[in-house]
Structure formats: structure tokens, C-alpha cells
Symmetry: C2
Subunit: 357 residues, 2 copies
Amino acid sequence: MKKLINKPLDFVRESLEGMALAHPDLIHVNYDPAFVYRADAPVHGKVAIISGGGSGHEPMHNGFVGMGMLDAACPGEVFTSPTPDQMLAAAKKVDGGAGILYIVKNYSGDVMNFEMATELAFSEGIRVLNILVDDDVAVKDSLYTQGRRGVGTTVLAEKICGAAAEQGYSLQQVADLCRRVNLNGRSIGMALTSCTVPAKGTPTFELGDREIEMGIGIHGEPGRERTNIKSADEITQILTLSILEDSPYKRVVREWDEHKQEWVDVELIDPVFNKGDRLLAFVNSMGGTPLSELYIVYRKLAEICDQHGLQIVRNLIGPYITSLDMQGCSITLLKLDDEMIRLWDAPVKTANLRWSI
Amino acid sequence: MKKLINKPLDFVRESLEGMALAHPDLIHVNYDPAFVYRADAPVHGKVAIISGGGSGHEPMHNGFVGMGMLDAACPGEVFTSPTPDQMLAAAKKVDGGAGILYIVKNYSGDVMNFEMATELAFSEGIRVLNILVDDDVAVKDSLYTQGRRGVGTTVLAEKICGAAAEQGYSLQQVADLCRRVNLNGRSIGMALTSCTVPAKGTPTFELGDREIEMGIGIHGEPGRERTNIKSADEITQILTLSILEDSPYKRVVREWDEHKQEWVDVELIDPVFNKGDRLLAFVNSMGGTPLSELYIVYRKLAEICDQHGLQIVRNLIGPYITSLDMQGCSITLLKLDDEMIRLWDAPVKTANLRWSI
């Protein structure tokens, strides 16, 4: 293993220390328990948005803490769920009195711990709602996951909901919006190479010199198919059609009901994409794939969307939800409405996503 | 070779096509000869800034075209200088009547072709000045280079000079500023792995499983030393001290003299860094190294600068001047003055660098 690290066990902490040193105007870091939070937290009267998950997917989530996006992020060890005490401590730190939304990627550990944190926060008088992201069309049920995995749509949900919170949406409104973003977003990824977890020191899986894995998970979980290397156009075609031809996905998720004070089952069905839909197209690097190649993927993606009568009106291209040093990419398509477009365009100022009007 | 590409020979063109599709609000692309230019070019009365060089270093330079940075970028084939006709055509397209600054990285092919383009532009009545960037302290004279190579400071010069041009600086003022940024900036890089040029299909050089190369060039040119893998802290220490302990670097460069209408020799000497200096610290990924590792490097870099009484007042951390899929990093330190800080902070809106006040 060759990486720019010191002791593998210090990887997450030292990376956080570097972030804290680099961006003191934007974020502060609490180390025990570990969470990154807005330098100006709590923002009084604003719904606070917290996400988190295993480390190794940077810039998600730490790099998205700041004005217009997350109020806090809870990083676990590499590919390991953060713990409820991190999520609770973060909630206490950033609670501005208007409640907190936990945005949770659908992995068993994350789901369990965020649910526990939700109950703990409730018992301490902090209003919390939690919304799952389960947008990966590649496989149903996977290593670490019941149902579909949460991937690229998470980044888009954090941006859109962050803007909504900034504009004064109520907790219930932000939660409803987050659910809607998740329902309208679909993703799928692929790997050219494995990633290497620092503490393990060897590749998570083996791919031959001419092998790729379609439908890979962001922790190297098995995908749909291991196949011979194909051209960027062929790969993009397979990924994009997997999304466009995905059937309505029906599942039941658990959400916290503030009034009943209990978990309730919510049945969700993804709408399909239709001719004339406006899309946000997100082409993401798995970490080791350079920008030049992402634009080659985007080129074909734009062509296919055009052929299907789908209009890409916004895009995001770069490494935003990664898998350490894995080479490969993922594509996320999000069906937009006017409200989502307005919120996407709203200013954001974080360490790793930043723009203004 | 596993990459997200189609035919290797289409790599540059297809990546440009993807960029053009993704950012029609910011840039347009001319394909024959190839250059990327601001969608609103020419900006009348503003000095235009043009850079360029071999492809494979994305987002540099194409991703830096837009308000507050470059007016045009001329991409060559991978690791191959663009040609004078590209540079001349770009100059004609973006000339707003206030003259053009060519920012040229010090590689023999780039230098020769930008000099030729300067003369061609002059003969067509377009005012052009050209400034070299030669900031790599690793080695003097190298594959493709007489003197020091131009690397990370190029990104900073493009941002700072771009802001100056936006604020109405004259051509001579922008050129003088660019020269000053180059003199005050020093860089050095290292590689954990080689890069693979698409048309070649095999790694440019070989590194063993536990070998790294210190002082690497952005085309995989040999560096100072091939050594065993070290910790991130040790690597950062070696890189940083190479910069801080660099002697004043004296050389003669050629610049175009508008009044004499000829090339003149200009003697330049880099100032050294002194206690109390304010720095911009730029930690750059070579392409395949993820953000999490860059922050570990930044952490140690900040500590060393602090120990030396140097104050990091601005930073840039991410993949900005890359070498295809190479894993590794580079560090650039730029000694700032009030004017440079003000210009660094000024708004910028390009595909891959974007912020507002």
C-alpha cells in the first residue's frame, strides 16, 4: 500500500486535523466524539442538517459543512458507521431551536445508529427527523445494506436541503423535500480498480488488468457484473440505461413520527423518468479517476439523455462521493422541479463545494 | 491500461466536447485549432489572459477559463505543447483591445511556440506580452526543460492575474504582477505511482511496490530521488524543506519588449522566504490521490510553516494541476503581499475554480 498517510489508525483524525487547520473560517472540529460543524453554529431559528457515515468518501460529508449545506457531519472510521454519541453530540452543538434533519445513507450500521441518535435526541428535548437516501439502482440488498444503497443522491440532497434550511423552511418541510429528492434521484457506479483501506493495507477486492466491475458500491461492495474493460461510451451507455430503464422502486422505510413519538413505516415508490423531464446530471469520480475522463463520460451521458428527450439543466462533475483511491465513476440523475432548481442554485460556502449566484 | 476513454487519440477532443456540453454558460470550445474561451469573450477594454500547454493536467488550464481567471486556454495533445496557430487564434478571439498576456510554463516546446505566437500576434497588430513560470525547485534542467519547470505557481498566477485584469490593470501591470507571482512562488512534487498516457497505454515510468519518486515532474520527468515509501509527515517535511531552504534562484529569461519590438533578456532572482512572511499554501493532488490524504499533508505543512515563523493566510487544497492518473502530491508556497491577497480573494467563476466574496 502506498498512500500519503502516517499510521493507518490515525488516518481519519489527521485528515480532520488538516481540515480544521485549513478552513477555520468555515468549520470547527470536535474530536471526542468526532464531528465537524459550522464555525457559526448554532444558527438560531434555522433547521440544522446533519449527515455522516464512514470516512473514505471525502469530500462527502465533512467537506460539505458550511453555509447553505450541512450544519454538521459525523465521520466514522474508514467505511465504518459513526456512533450515536457522535450524532447526538453534533445535534446538541448545532441545534438552533428549529429542529434537526439527519440525512442517512442506507447502510445497516448508519441506519441503526442514526435511529438510536434520533431517539436519544428526542429524549433530550431536541426535535429530530431522519430521512434515508437509497438511490443506487445497481443491486437490491448488498453487503452492509438491506434494500438499495445510498450513494450520489446524498450529495444533491445535502445541497438542496441545506439551501432550503437556509431559506427558513420548517423541519417537516426540509424532511419532505429530502424524501422527494431521494425519490427522484437514481445512481449507479463502476470501478476500474479497487480501493485500499489504510488499516487493511491490501486492495478490498481484486480486478484483473482488463477487468472492471459494473454497479460497484462505494465501499467496494460487489456490483452487478464483472466484465472486460469497455470503452467510456459503452460504460456510460450501460450505466445510464440502468438508471433510465429502472422500474418504479417500491419499499418501506422507517421514519420518526414526532407526534406519535414512535417509528412508523412509510411506503415509498420512485417515479420513473419521462420524456421532457429536467435533470441534474452528476458525474462523480470514485477518487482516483481524473477530471478529464469524467468529461468524456459526461459527453456520452448528455448524448443519451438528449436521445431520450431528457433535458440536463444542471450538472455536477468531479470527485464528491469517493471510495478512497478507487478508479471509476458513478452517474446520478436527479429529476428536478422548479423548487429544487432554485435551491440547487442558491449560494453555498463549504470547504469543497462553493458558489454564489 | 484501464481508463474511462474511447480511442486514445480522441481523448483530448472528447474531453473538450464534454466540457463544452457541461459549461455552455461559461465557456465555448473551438476545435480547429483547439482552444477554450470565455463565453463572453472578447471583454472590451480588458487585458486578456491566455495560457495553455499539453493536456493531461486538468483542470489546468481549460477548467480555469472564465470570469476572473483565463480568457482562453490552448490545450495540446497529452503532454505535448500546443501550436502557435492555436495561441494566435485564441488571441484573436479574446482580444478586447487592451492586449494579451500569455502565461507560459517553462517547457521547451511551450516556450518556443508561445514565443512564435507572440511574434505572429504582434505582426497582426495584437499586443502580446509573455511571462514564464519556472517555479519547480526539484531540479534544474530536466526532460523537456531548460532551467526550472513550471508547475503549481501557474495556477496561482492565473488566478491572481485574472483578477487583476478584471479590475482594469494595464497589460504591463498584469505582466509585471505575473512575473512577481512567479518569483515569489516555489513548488515541488512527488509521485507514489506513475501516470499512463492514453496513446502509449503503459506507465510512463516504473515504481516498485514500496518506491516513491521525490521531485517528480508533471509529465513524469525524473525527480531528485527515488526512495522507499515514507510516512506522509516525512514526505511533507522533505518537500517543504526543499522549498524553504531553496537558495535565491538566478536565471535569465526572454521577454518580449513591445517598444524595442524584440526579445530581451531579463535577469530574475527569486527572493527567499523569511520569518513573518505571509504565504498561500497550495497542496495539490497529482490526479489519483484523494482529498483525505491531501489534508494529512496540509496538517504537517501547516506545522512546519508555523515552526519557521511563516504564516499561512490562504490555502488551496485539491486536484488543480495534475498528471493524468498519477498518485502523489505537490506543494506550492507563494509569498503574498497585500495586493496579491486582495486579488486572490476576488471573485472567480470558471468550470473548476469558483468563488465569490
